[in-house]
Subunit: 792 residues, 2 copies
Amino acid sequence: MAARDIHGPEAPWKEFQVVGKSHRKIDGMAKATGEAVYADDIQLPGMLHAKTLRSPHAHAKIVSIDTSRALALKGVHAVITGADLPIKYGVIPWTPDETALATDRVRFIGDEVAAVAAIDEDTANAALELIDVEYEVLHAYFDPREALERSEPTIHESRKNNNVSKHVELEFGDVDGAAETADLVVKGEYQFHGSTHGAIEPHCAVAKVSPEGVLTLWSATQISHYVHRALARVLEWEPQKIRVIQPCIGGAFGGKSDPFSLEFCVAKLAEITGRPVKMLWTREEVFYAHRGRHPMQLAYRTSATKDGKITGVDAKILIDGGSYSSFGLVTTYYSGQLLTGPYDFPSYRFNSTRVFTNKPPCGPKRGHGSVQPRFAFECQLDEVAEQLGIDPIEIRRKNFHGEHTQTVNGQRITSSGYMECLDKVERGSAWRERHRQLPTGQGLGVAGSMYISGTNYPIYPNEMPQAGIQLKADRSGLVTVFSGANDIGQGSNSVVRYIVAEELGMDPTDVRVLAADSDLCPVDLGAYSSRVTFMVGNAAVDAARKLRAKLVAAVAEHWEVEEKRVRLIMGRAIDLEDTEKVLSTREAIQLAEAKFDTLGSTGAYNTPTLGGDYRGGTIGASPAYSFTAHIVEAHVDEETGRITVPKVWCAHDCGRALNPRLVAGQIEGSVYMGIAEALMEDHKVNRFGLHSGPSLLDYRMPTAIDTPDIETYIVESVDPEGPYGAKEAGEGPLHSAIPALANAIHDAVGIRLRELPFTPAKVLAALAEKRMSEGAAAGGAAAKAMAKKETH
Amino acid sequence: MAARDIHGPEAPWKEFQVVGKSHRKIDGMAKATGEAVYADDIQLPGMLHAKTLRSPHAHAKIVSIDTSRALALKGVHAVITGADLPIKYGVIPWTPDETALATDRVRFIGDEVAAVAAIDEDTANAALELIDVEYEVLHAYFDPREALERSEPTIHESRKNNNVSKHVELEFGDVDGAAETADLVVKGEYQFHGSTHGAIEPHCAVAKVSPEGVLTLWSATQISHYVHRALARVLEWEPQKIRVIQPCIGGAFGGKSDPFSLEFCVAKLAEITGRPVKMLWTREEVFYAHRGRHPMQLAYRTSATKDGKITGVDAKILIDGGSYSSFGLVTTYYSGQLLTGPYDFPSYRFNSTRVFTNKPPCGPKRGHGSVQPRFAFECQLDEVAEQLGIDPIEIRRKNFHGEHTQTVNGQRITSSGYMECLDKVERGSAWRERHRQLPTGQGLGVAGSMYISGTNYPIYPNEMPQAGIQLKADRSGLVTVFSGANDIGQGSNSVVRYIVAEELGMDPTDVRVLAADSDLCPVDLGAYSSRVTFMVGNAAVDAARKLRAKLVAAVAEHWEVEEKRVRLIMGRAIDLEDTEKVLSTREAIQLAEAKFDTLGSTGAYNTPTLGGDYRGGTIGASPAYSFTAHIVEAHVDEETGRITVPKVWCAHDCGRALNPRLVAGQIEGSVYMGIAEALMEDHKVNRFGLHSGPSLLDYRMPTAIDTPDIETYIVESVDPEGPYGAKEAGEGPLHSAIPALANAIHDAVGIRLRELPFTPAKVLAALAEKRMSEGAAAGGAAAKAMAKKETH
């Protein structure tokens, strides 16, 4: 592929006008003033309200369903069951194991069984009580290890004789050989608990069938395009008869990345009743719907030379998938594939198995699949450093993989600002003066991580663009961006505005953005895997440059000068060699509209497919990787076991920061979420499979008061392929927060917590164990490690 | 200009698949089921309601306005007067003589003086009563002749010493010489009354300023683009900060072709109050707003040879413009320029003067400016035929101007199906067996006419396209059309759907159309002068062919065949030489999206500027002309003077009929409207200047029962430059209905009514006069004519 001038505006103007500045978010004022329209704000004439009947059993066969009494209730317009929507789907096309409503089996408490549309929610709820379902209860799995070992009953009939959702085992280099020749081998087992997204807005969807037979679905989704595809499949409608619109969204974090039961139900109920239908899930239902962080049991073995060079990493991971596949295929790969940076190690193996259990299904949550292994590995790396007597930051520097390299598992690393990230947090936290030097009960911990900027593979195989943008410009001086991307609060609409304004030299507020309306916008694949800024941003650059070329050509012709003299900047076209020549952007557009006719352009992005020595001719998971370093300060109360985090230093390499304020917001949100799930959140069921506390009172999320001070450092490595060099910022900065906290706890009180969340009880137990082992054991950490090596 | 393949799809498929068929209108079901959203259906949170204070005087100075009592009323949020919106505007940029609210002068009873925004209409109305205005009454003009002759006071200060709005005098050839050498000269004076549009939907506008500072105006307008420009001018806002949206519209007929006071008022009130503001005019207010048919006093002199060849036409026209310019400049030109077809006459002169009077302003109504002269001339032509003893149809055939010719005043005539129109109505009405052969009291009359298909000149000088279209296509198989055109019920959204479907070989219902939203759609100049099908249709052809080329190229590459073998038809791509090769349109789009990236295209239309021997290097008023012939059957009750019209035969040459059902609807509507204003409607004021009956009870419009049977004939001349050969159909078929009726009345009872409307009183008076003159006069019609010639 030919080199692209993607880094910045063309010479001789080296400075950005819009990019890199802290502009207001495009929807900031609308959200602050209450103007923003969310799915539940949509009210349509004659609209019905729908509710869902859910399974009270964790695992059961449905023997019969009788909806007649519900249908007879005054005010009820329709009742549907699995028989009305029998076609299976899944966000990943290879694992279609869900139905909108259970057809013959329920697989967790809360699984959807029937839906009612009625004149109001109360009537719909009353009707749910009148639906008679006969169940035949089956053995339910709550322990993933039992699910792995026991084959009867299977949770999904399609999986013959086992409950394995996905198994991936890949080895790169000679891991066992590395362990045998290593100076130090550290082994450990880790448990990562489940946590959920906690988006403030519950799931909500509204459907309507137009008189001409077009189904419109408004849904709080972060994957409009996949919902569009799933609707067409399940409803058996032609996709061009379906319009999917994502209204303003109140948080997602991965929790709105699947097609959900309510989207199919409102569509079907609208089709049946001829009326608009809305379904708004309660908070309780959102907890059932879940698709959040997978619990994982992780066993790691890290081999190193005595001077701290990692020679091999060997991982075995058991993933608790809950009741359905969701993105589990991807989770299983990500649990192994994304660990191989920012460090260089010559051998690596992972063996990951995702099993089904009878719990709410797990899926992607911020840092999908890779937060859990990152925790385990970065804790283990801390142990290696400790045992070798190397500073934890130094061991990370020592193993740094470098830029323009390739990882052991074939990931093409281009830009990497990881070393600068380490420098920033080291200096900011006064690490050298404070690490291992704070009073007992106080500690600092460090960790690093790497994350993707979008995936190189669309989830369904095709050669079409992964991201598309269409522009319109006209004589009013307005440029409109039609973006397929789902703005879920991360600011994708803002980003495309900045980019188009930068390219066309416009005031950003003169760029309007319409997004995520399938009738009006080009296809983008959705807001997941931190792909939007990188991919949609590049599509926006592409589209804007095509339009800019027309404006420049028209102005140059008008002035009778060479095109290279024309610069679009700050709402004007100027002649670089004649300061007298100035036109407004509006005038430039008018000249172009006269010269070229009605002005529009399209832009697209697809990941490059590089051949050469990249394994299999591909470039790995992503076109670019972001890097993060955290230092966490932890205070541990040895009497109560309570951990507080007064401060976190987080440096994140996001490539070029298109809007530093938004990047800082993403970093802060990630740190918040990481610390939250490390200390407080725990998404689990009781021994009957019933959710332990499906409410925001019982499921403890930190408030602003609980949140540490966060010092953010934006590191701009300027990626060669990102838009102006930008990479992701929304997920990466979560990863290393958790192991950095674990390592800080060790620095504070000398215990290694390997099981999340870090509750006071676990702290107290670990402290007790430490006191016992300090009494019993002989020798230091290094000696223990050598012993381990000998018994390997 | 190179010849364009605009007539039809490419060889070897000669037949249209979509065009020429009677498809359902795109919004038909939505309108029939009540789903369609009109301006008054828009309800926004916190919305205020506005009302207008109107002048009780026909002509007065405003000495003072005190709004303090109104502002003090509970529930009132704002009161504005002319001082808040002092900038003058006009739809024609050379005649900006209106302000949103009167600044210092009122010019008709109903002129806008102040506006109030309040929590509801009742409160706003109550507040109007509390606004104290002191007027100094001025002499008011109700008679255009007085306005022409008297210079003090002037109605507009900008017009020094007279009340002339516009004067145009143009002569082509030697008119006086033709009269001198003619065998017959017929002179006559005609009076054409005013009539109004009577759209069912009153004017309504809603405005809202977004938190980011974008003003959105929803308005029942047929000229979104000019409203956009006028808003920017009057509000002094940057145009890119303004969004104008035309919702579904309940009729317009030219009556929504100006920017109206309410559009500025709601915008200003929304700006001031920070709340959405709606103003819905009452029916009474719509009558005041008017801008309908100009009353004209017309004097015609037609010269002819004895064998019926017209040698010269001389017209003097006094136009009563009412109180403001509106489109009056155009009206004045159109009153003369558009008469010069379908007949060939070597000399022509018109002398048209539009004057201001203190009545509701006049403007464009269906058949803008040319219905009145057409009436006069076609009546006079009937007299010529009568006096020369020539059949009225024959004299029209004799003078037919032909195709691919140029009129005496430089109009380039391309296609003309006028002769076929005459044939159709002649045969359909059994003219030869019935004309001059029906019992007394029953008669047949014929008339013909010509009208434009859009104007060659935009109303503000610019070189940008007159019409623009943008398309989006994506893998779902949907194609979306972004059209700037105002669909006012004439079906422009349907037309672009048919065209895009035809070009892309799609089912029309798989083409979605979004129109008249300035943020999302390219600029089109508006729905006036019958320009939309011709101009926007051509832009749609242009855009669709660009997209089709990509689809064809991608499919050809996929099949490894030459592109000429690939045909898109009926939702499929087929190989003309291998029936096994078939893809769906969706698959073809997907191949193209993979090959070319995200798919979009733009299309545009501008009228050709031809040099050569066309006068002044232009091609006259329009790129193409439609032609109509009417035969009307009239029954005249000689005792009561009452006229009934049992049947009308109307043949209209619309070029290619893109949708015959819509064309027939336009013809029927035009005939209805023509007969209505000939017999019933009369828009006038009393001696104080007060509207004679501003309600649908007093202003008599025919119901379905009053409407004649209409036999329509669609004549398809296939224009060389129209989209697939299409020309206009919405206005032309009105023109000749009125003179044909007048001529039928003459055939029935021997009277020539030269003053509209044809009320029973006028019939009875004419019958009395006829009886008197039959007693007094000697000699026949021919002798009288010869005598006239001698006295010339």
